[in-house]
Point group: C2
Amino acid sequence: MEEAVRKMRIKAGRRTDIRRAREEAILAAAEKVFAEAGFGGATMQLIADMAGMPKANLHYYFATKEDLYRRVVENIFTIWLKAADCFDNAADAAAGIGGYIEAKMEISRRHPFGSKVWASEVMHGAPVIQDYLETALRGWTEGRMRAIQRWIDEGQIAAVDPRHLLYMIWATTQHYADFGHQIETLNAGKPLTDRQWRAAIDSVREIILRGIGALPPAPGKP
Amino acid sequence: MEEAVRKMRIKAGRRTDIRRAREEAILAAAEKVFAEAGFGGATMQLIADMAGMPKANLHYYFATKEDLYRRVVENIFTIWLKAADCFDNAADAAAGIGGYIEAKMEISRRHPFGSKVWASEVMHGAPVIQDYLETALRGWTEGRMRAIQRWIDEGQIAAVDPRHLLYMIWATTQHYADFGHQIETLNAGKPLTDRQWRAAIDSVREIILRGIGALPPAPGKP
DNA sequence: GTCTATATTTCGATAGAC
DNA sequence: GTCTATCGAAATATAGAC
């Protein structure tokens, strides 16, 4: 009888649903463990415990530890690229760059583990996602640099180096995820409140936008 | 006879010289391996190979892997703090903050491994140097925030949040070390030249200084 | 698909000759 | 102080019952 039920479920496509749900649970646990312990420090046992299943099940869904890790990094990269939309559909430079900063800060807040895994991967020489850097990221970067250069040519912003402006945005926004523990320690050991996050986002956006001449000089400054 | 020579050397203080030289060789190798593989991914064998000595010798100079790691992190932190001098002995805000940015960029260039080890340590929750964060770093930060606030009160710079300004400087300058591999990949796979480093430093310093109103608006911008 | 038990490998650390 | 050989712990991965 149970056999019949199982076959019906397979026919109805439930099997892939279950598979997807289990995979997502494993991936969420893995993202956290990889972020907090690094690839070498993470163990399949820790990930299994956090996902609430025996270790052997992980190997049923992901052949090796490295396969699992690769999927985690790929997930983050996808989220990363989506934030580019703000860039393209913007009315002007201030809206485009400001919106991108805001979107990146929001990702740092919502996906701190993913950001850390990405940072760790790049810091160790990108052994797993070097191809992404050379293809997808390089292409994305060149496109955005052209957009920035266009704003410069139109006189919307100062003649900054588009490449280093992008690096500054990446560095600053991701810092709030990657160095979140340090920021929390310097905040009396407490996570940033909603208000403090708002202040952080505004600070970052205003200093950068003013720094590239997309905002008027600060009030009270001649 | 050799015994006599050895005792003479000990009497002359050579023994500690040898010890120091060996320790420094091990620390240099460890810094590189920890940076490239993370604490968990690093092995004593790899460090020994890079230092050109058998694995057992490492345990003769450093009792455990964690002891060795702790020394590496402490070394970096010391270099970090020295860069603060530019901050204190400055004539005005632009010189103080600009000099600090320049010093931090120089450290990113000269000590990329150390920066990565520090980043990795903080990303993993600072299990080894949490006490440094809560004492030395917290004290240092509060002092610098007061200096920045003074410049704000004197009208030298805009009324930015000193804390987030510091975070931006840390994030941006350390990015050139921690994400050096990504930057190199986006630079056609080649390390930055002297000229490119100069451009990077100038870009960072100018955007930030202009962003806080320590520089006049960019030329050509109303 | 799930789980227990285990095979195999790897690594940190040490013993002991030199 | 240095080095070879090795122990013991821990981790990845798998075998095989259910």
